[in-house]
Amino acid sequence: MTDYIVQYFIFPGFLFTAAAGLIASWIDRKVTARIQWRVGPPLLQPLYDLVKLMGKETIVPKSGSKMTFLIAPLAGLATITLVSMLIWRVLIWPSQSFVGDLIVVFYLMAIPSITLIISGAASANPLASLGASREMKLILAYELPFILAILVPVIQAGGQIGLGEILIWQWNNGTVVGSWSGIIAFIVAILCMQAKLGLVPFDIAEAETEIVSGPFIEYTGTPLAVHKLTRLMMLFVIPMFLVTIFMGGIIFSGWHILWGILKYVLLLVIIILIRNTNPRVRIDQAIWFFWGPMTILAILAVVLAMLGL
């Protein structure tokens, strides 16, 4: 029991993920600044932002729902911590995977977006509810191709629905991205991840220039800090999930650890480059993009995987 508590709050869980997320967020801002020929913020900038937000006054809107408004960000934070713990436990001890933990992780990863909808709806602001409705449509759009893309590693590993089984299969037979079906599914999964993280081509829900950060608009002080922290941790956890099921995870021995970290950094840089070279799309364009080309590509990848390619 203490084992689980330590794992949840310290090593693969909260503290570790938060620290990694802060660094990932700094890399994001620094690389963005370098792309725009700027200097960019110092290393501790994301931490300063969070500490400052915790010191500010917390305001709850008068006509909003007080309990929901304050609890929703915490639920998102708790969920993303749990996802991180599940993924890292499997990475470190692949035998500790249980049957169907891929499905558990997949559903838990949707909850931060759902808490975003709840907090937008609870803040009684027209722009926030607009952002919440856009987030809802976005979830409906990207979940379908995402789950089809995740089916590919499952099919390749012989129909085993477990992170640990997929990982061990990749250690024995080569990574999933090495095959034709794997690379197509991986591209689809990267674009779905971009939407899940709410980054630029798909940051329709919190569009700063039109609906002033959408669901976050009424948040101040500590609840806003919790929301920001959840976002930072997602920037670390969701690419790690893709590294685990598509790229063979991290092997904890000698140089292989560095190789594993490089896989994550590669994904992060892809995310940052997509985010810096694209304009924001409208919600109808996003739905068309995910239900049209992306779903077709994902189905193609599933068919190829069935044929054993």
Binding site: R29, A33, Q36, W37, R38, V39, G40, P41, P42, L44, Q45, Y48, D49, V51, K52, M54, G55, K56, E57, T58, I59, E208, T209, V212, S213, F216, I217, E218, Y219, T220, G221, L224
Partner: protein, 137 residues
């Protein structure tokens, strides 16, 4: 108090409010986040909602029409909030001091922490003001 204040000095989020300005000051504000000046290296960022802001940056004379909105925004801001009067108009009224629709200058309505004079202020003046303000905080 100590650590929170230190963090506040390292990450000022700015909400920009135009109270009837001629768009000249507003363009100079945008100049500060261009590659040449890049205020993000000090953690300064523009935000879209007053609820996220640490600094209320006001440009323009305060017209009678915008007066109730300005008061509302100041009350909606999470404390502690720093108010900056940006440009000659917000600081003193500038050439519009005798205008019929003038309700300001700004410091008659809400407490002001810093004034940046100029029509418009140069980006260097803005950076100097930020440095002085951080010392004063």
């Amino acid at each position: 108090m100590g650590i929170k204040f230190k963090a506040l000095k390292k990450s000022l989020w700015v909400f920009h409010l135009s109270t009837g300005s001629c768009n000249n000051c507003d363009i100079e504000i945008l100049d500060c986040i261009t590659p040449r000046y890049d205020l993000e290296r000090f953690g300064i960022k523009k935000v879209g909602s007053i609820r996220h802001a640490d600094v209320l940056l006001v440009t323009g004379i305060v017209t009678k029409q915008v007066l109730p909105r300005l008061k509302k925004l100041y009350n909606q801001a999470p404390k502690p909030i720093v108010v900056i009067a940006f440009g000659a108009c917000a600081s003193s009224g500038g050439i519009f001091a005798d205008s019929y629709n003038m309700a300001g200058p700004l410091d008659k309505i809400i407490p002001v922490d810093a004034y940046i004079p100029g029509c418009p202020p140069k980006p260097e003046a803005i950076i100097a003001a930020v440095a002085k303000l951080l010392k004063k905080l």
